[in-house]
């Protein structure tokens, strides 16, 4: 499955909320049936359905199963376990097994990222994650980022190739997750958190309209789809639920993040931010939710700085600079000789450079200096200095500035002041691995009491687990999607103005960062 190297960059940690009442997408029921007799010669299918309808409203028995029911019932001496799948407005029989197997119920929570795919095997009896497996999305070789995937999908056969690639990834992971004793067909439900493009490609739907004005996807809420129609190698009749999106750039992964954060149920205003290749910002409370999204650029994924790299072994992931001596201390992933700098290393470096006055509020080096050596040549794997250049810093500041500008735009649109924001939720790798103090110092995170800053981990995967396990959570996700007002940033003039004015450390409005000002004044 995953080798160590791969594992290091794929976020699998997550908050595992305990759900009050499990109402999974698929449920098992033990049935003690009556052998037919001259006095009760109901057909077997009808007897099974009638018995299930004592506890479940509207049970559909698919034709594919009808023919198998009599022999299963007879060989099991009429003691059988039925698996029912939620079909939104009723239930469908998707499996019938001999004996009582109600203690063995399995589902999948799936997070399909543009870069990585994580599959969690979930025990539907108690909601626990039994195992997980993760890997890069096979689609990467067909296009590194979302725009390239969309372009590839427009080529002849491209959409099929992309769909096959993600299905290959998923089905490989699913096979790896299942113990040999258990066939993958014993997995009877799946829920998926993913961005809008990933969902389109998985379902074989043309994503072209996603990146074309007016940025309308084919579908926001695909509803429940049976696994065989998608090509997911589990029970062919298993229901698959995709978390709904609310736009081309605000996908089910973000709706899932809101769900996991709980911000939509709090009276206080919260800010939710997820920055990967794309950035999504959501603000709101129990009464309102506003959001915007856009291409963030891979600033935090190592794509724009000279020595940028993913958080793989040898990536500088933590940096501190002694204010007295100017001495740099750093760590690397897996303690390997430094090969480059990953997102958390960049954030640390910029924060330290700023606090030590090596860059100014405009994030500029003093005149004449063009780079800063983070790791000297003698300590690196390549024998070259690992540096941060002014251009690297400018690129990074563009991402940070966009993030600040988008947040300000949302606040202005809803008439919410910065000090009203009481909670900050950082999703995904952006939330999990960035050093909180440094992220605040450079204004990527707001300057809130540290206890109000929550890392959500893989909230897309956790949201998938929640909707897999709970019908109310599924409805909650759909209510969130219906409630969010989406602001399109592409070609929004106000945004562009704010963006141009947002390139200060930690923020244009310094009053919003009292703790950073204090540290600057007191010397860290």
């Amino acid at each position: 499955m995953l080798n160590h190297k791969k594992k290091s960059v794929i976020l699998t940690e997550q908050i595992q909320t305990t759900l009050d009442n499990l109402e999974p997408l698929a449920q098992k029921v033990f049935l003690s049936l009556t052998p037919p007799s001259p006095l009760d010669n109901r057909a077997d299918v009808d007897q099974v359905r009638q018995m299930l309808e004592r506890s479940y409203d509207f049970v559909k028995v698919p034709l594919a199963l009808m023919g198998k029911i009599p022999s299963i019932c007879r060989s099991a001496h009429w003691q059988v376990t039925a698996t029912l799948a939620d079909i939104g407005n009723g239930w469908k029989l998707i499996d019938l097994e001999a004996g009582d197997t109600t203690d063995k119920q399995f589902g999948l929570a799936i997070d399909i990222g543009t870069t990585t795919v994580v599959v969690y095997l979930v025990d539907l009896c108690n909601g626990a994650i039994l195992r997980h497996a993760a890997d890069y999305n096979d689609q990467i070789i067909l296009g590194e980022d979302i725009l390239n995937r969309i372009r590839h999908a427009a080529e002849p056969g491209g959409l099929d190739r992309l769909q096959k690639a993600v299905l290959d990834t998923l089905n490989r992971l699913i096979k790896d997750l299942c113990p040999q004793s258990m066939g993958t067909e014993k997995i009877t439900a799946a829920a998926i958190g993913a961005n809008t493009t990933m969902i389109h490609l998985l379902l074989g739907l043309e994503p072209a309209s996603i990146c074309r004005d007016p940025y309308t996807p084919i579908v926001n809420n695909p509803g429940l789809i049976t696994a065989e129609k998608i090509g997911l190698a589990i029970n062919p009749l298993a229901p698959v639920y995709c978390l709904p999106s609310i736009g081309s750039y605000l996908g089910g992964d973000v709706i899932g993040g809101i769900l996991v954060s709980g911000m939509h149920k709090q009276p206080d205003v919260s800010l939710f931010v997820d920055i990967g290749t794309n950035g999504e910002i959501v603000m709101g409370n129990e009464d309102w939710l506003v959001a915007c999204a856009g291409a963030a650029g891979p600033a935090l994924e190592g794509g724009v700085t000279s020595f940028g790299m993913r958080a793989e072994p040898g990536a500088v992931d933590h940096v501190s600079i002694d204010p007295e001596t100017g001495q740099v201390e750093y760590t690397t992933v897996a303690d390997m000789p430094a090969r480059g700098i990953c997102g958390s290393g960049i954030v640390d470096t910029l924060a330290e450079l700023f606090l030590d006055g090596i860059i100014d509020r405009n994030a500029h080096f003093e005149k004449g200096r063009e780079e800063y050596v983070v790791v000297p040549a003698k300590e690196t794997a390549s024998g070259e200095d690992i540096v941060v250049t002014q251009i690297d810093i400018n690129n990074f500041m563009a991402t940070k500035g966009a993030c600040n500008a988008a947040t300000d735009l949302l606040m202005e649109n809803v008439g919410c002041a910065a000090e009203e924001i009481k909670h900050f939720y950082a999703a995904g790798a952006f939330g999990q691995y960035l050093p909180i103090e440094s992220a605040i110092t450079i204004g990527l995170y707001p300057d809130l009491p540290r206890s109000a800053i929550v890392r959500l981990g893989n909230s897309s995967g956790e949201a998938a687990r929640q909707v897999l396990l709970s019908r109310p959570k599924r409805l909650e996700a759909e209510e969130i999607a219906a409630k969010v007002t989406y602001f399109e940033l592409n070609a929004n003039n106000t945004f562009m103005e704010k963006f141009s004015g947002s390139k200060f450390l930690p923020h244009t409005d310094l009053a919003r960062y009292p703790s950073v000002r204090r540290r600057q004044q007191t010397g860290k």
Copy 2:
């Protein structure tokens, strides 16, 4: 399609009840959609679904259609017609067409008989039958009657062959019914009336258990199945509804007959009889319904008498004997030279023989006589006499006796006296073509005021039309199925006793046939 010869023996006439409110299995809705804009960039699929859900509870959009929706909407300038299929507990989008096509909605009402198949093309806008087509069931070459079909199904590949045969018949008829300008995929719903074995073979379900104690079919009520899962060549997502059965020998065709008769809604007791290769008898009123069924033998289908034949050209179909001269007058189907005698001819002949005293109350010729010449050799196609023999009469009396015995058994079981029966419904060919007076004379029909005797025509096809057009009728059919108490005749000792005592003309209890007694006394 049908040549004249075939047409003559296939019953297509039916009562066409006007239904109050049409709620067909598939319905069209015209939608005037909003082109997406930056202010409303909902996905196309979601907009369609949300607009449909203003009028319909729970609308599912299948994955197979999602990808086609954007291009249809755009090319139709957002003026489209959706077709929704009833899925029992909600609706499924099964087609989306450009423009307003709500005046073109087509469905099928299908009657699958063991011998013949009739398909009616129904206008779902007003319920009218636009065209019909009929043919022999291709399964005949694999087995003449139900038991032989069940035996054939048990052979390797037999079930597949039988399923393919009936599908070939149906799909051929469907193709013939559709004008060239209209593809068969524009047919968006179908309903089927058929006996339990025919439904099993159509659905590819093993019928073996139908003829094995305790006579339990695999399914009584298959619910709604999509056409593509069966192999019916109409819109692949069209819902197909099979009228429910209540036992191996009491199929959806009989439930349909009850539905069409309306006997289940009347305070008076009615008797419903359908005798073909199998015989079914239902008795009851608004409070109760009892039924029994069994193999009737092909007495009325020309299978047991020496010169028995189907009602094809040359079949003697009406017979009268002048009581003074003994002269026989007869007619033949299509006025062709006589080749044999069909069911109605046999019934007429027996009635006349009885009224003229040529056979006695025991249906026996006077001593020494062994046959009666109906058509002398010089008038027949073969140049041989066409006769009715004592053995022919005995075979026929067995069917009639079984019918009387079964009726008596039902009456006794529910404590209902013969004089309580106020209506008689004669279904199928048994009802349509038998001469009423003769059928009463020999005790096949009860001696009721003639206005209380109703011929239902092809009630199986008419019931299919009703459930195709009306959701309440579908629920009514299911309520009927749930309400009928079924008496199994196989190995019922009381029945065998009654049967042995039932071989009198017109009936063991002559008091039940006052009009026959009167005719006997007054000389016809």
